[in-house]
Amino acid sequence: MKSKTLVVNEDSHKKTKLIKKKIEISTVILHLVLILGAAIMIFPFIWSITSSLKSVSQIFIVPPEFLPNPFVWSNYPDSLKAMPFGRAYWNSFYITVLIVGIQLITAAMAAYAFAKIRFPGVNLLFILFLATMMIPKQVTMVPTYMIMSKIGWLDTHLALIVPGALFNAFSVFLLRQFIMGIPNELEEAAVVDGANPLRIFWSVILPLIKPALAAVGIFSFMGTWNNFMEPLIYLSTPDLFTVPLMLNYFKGLYATDWGLMMAGSTISIIPVLIIYIIAQKHIIEGVALTGIKG
């Protein structure tokens, strides 16, 4: 009797050992595949950076050489001299900050009204907001262009800033979902203390939805910074260009000088990547949050 139990135990022990080994091998394979995938994801960045430091003749060498030999730094000052990239950075920066900052406040205000204030027409208006998310921007593109032209905003940053700051149904919708989750008791307590809705919004609601504001803010930051179509349509003076538009313009003029182009491309990517690496946890979690709530 005793010996039999022992055998069974030994057997199952062997089995778990076997399974463990199997798992280890599959984990190693999984990691290898994931590392290969990660390499594919970052390789284009690394390759364009190393190429930006090569001479034209080295870029075309077959088979390709990975490291620059010698390092050619002149592509950077040359591309900065060729195009006002610094200017484009400033444009992109201040446009994005204004749009995201103002949009967060106006969207949170609207979201608060939709979530917590009962007034005539509130449901109908909310449905209207939701419905506009279905409209592709190409449908409103031509008329909006005409409106901008009528009020003299063509080839100015106002054409980008004002619509972005004042209208984003997606942000309103997401923030509303969060504000709905705040218990009414908190507000009622503030009302008892004699606070008006503006005070409640500012001192009760806004502090409570900080994580949501961060998520929505990151989302519109990425969308605004990388926006290509609106600047392409509205802006024609190079001094007013945003970073993506400047790079596209640059590409059009220097399409054959690959060293210069890779430098230009790197100049436009590096700051975004630095911000990304610093804030990646928040950016990725913000996107995850948006996905769940959407």
Binding site: T27, L30, L34, A38, M41, W47, S48, I59, V62, P63, P64, T106, A113, I117, R118, F119, V122, F129, I135, P136, Q138, V139, T140, M141, V142, Y145, M146, I147, L166, F167, N168, A169, V172, N196, L198, M222, W225, F228, M229, L232, I233, V243, P244, L247, K251, G264, S265, S268, I269, V272, L273, Y276, I277, Q280, I283, I284, V287, L289, G291, I292
Partner: protein, 289 residues
Amino acid sequence: MMKNKTLWGYFFLAPQLLGLVAFALIPLVFSIVLSFMDWDGFGTKSFIGLENFIGQFQSPVFWKSLRNTVLYTILYIPIGVSISLLLAFALNKVKGKELYRIFYFMPVVTSSVSVGVIWMWILNGDFGILNQLLGVFGIAGPQWLTNTSLVMISIVMLSVWWQVGFNMIIFLAGLQGISKSYYEAADIDGASGFQKFRHITLPMLSPTTFFVTIMAIISSFQVFDQAYVMTMGGPAKSSYTIVYHIYELAFVNFRMGESAAAAIILFTIIMIFTLIQFKVSKRWVHYEE
């Protein structure tokens, strides 16, 4: 008190409501009106009925742009969604997923133009790194961007690389949102790994899959940036998409009425697809009660 609440309600709503009216409703109405007009954007407008729509349906260029857009969507959706789903499964339980996430998400933060410039070079038929890599295996790589039958495939490749991290993150969040108690209950019932995957993971993840697929289809129908930056719609208009068509009609050819008509056709197509998706979704999307 009642009146007061109404005032406050509209006070908080005012800025976004103004934006909604000025940048969505008025342009939408204007766009519909414009689609029945003949207008070059400067001179006088004249009412021409359905002519713009008929003109689009008779235009080979419109059909070509539609065909390219549908081709892109058909290629991109299954490849893009399944790769991001597989990656999310792979990362879900693996150690070091935070580090992998950083790398896989990196292209997402990059602008379409930067991505386009880099890929123009990766895909260059003569000295692009992809063909040099294929050369190592003795394969003579094609002219990715100047071959009419390969150019949309090239744009799909770029798009998958560019966006796979985004969808992966959303899938990963969906996977981590599935309560462990389901798996524990299944373990007690003696379910196998595949059974758990088939009867817990897939149905519980279906709302996320639905969300990702719908968003991906909607954005696929609006593909523009990649084609504009890399190929300018070429060669021979074989990467010319609907949005490219709408853009060119309005801002290159100044045929505002036709552009509006094409945009409204695009809107209708997206709406029909979305509605069909919602209808079909009842069969496969599982929502928790």
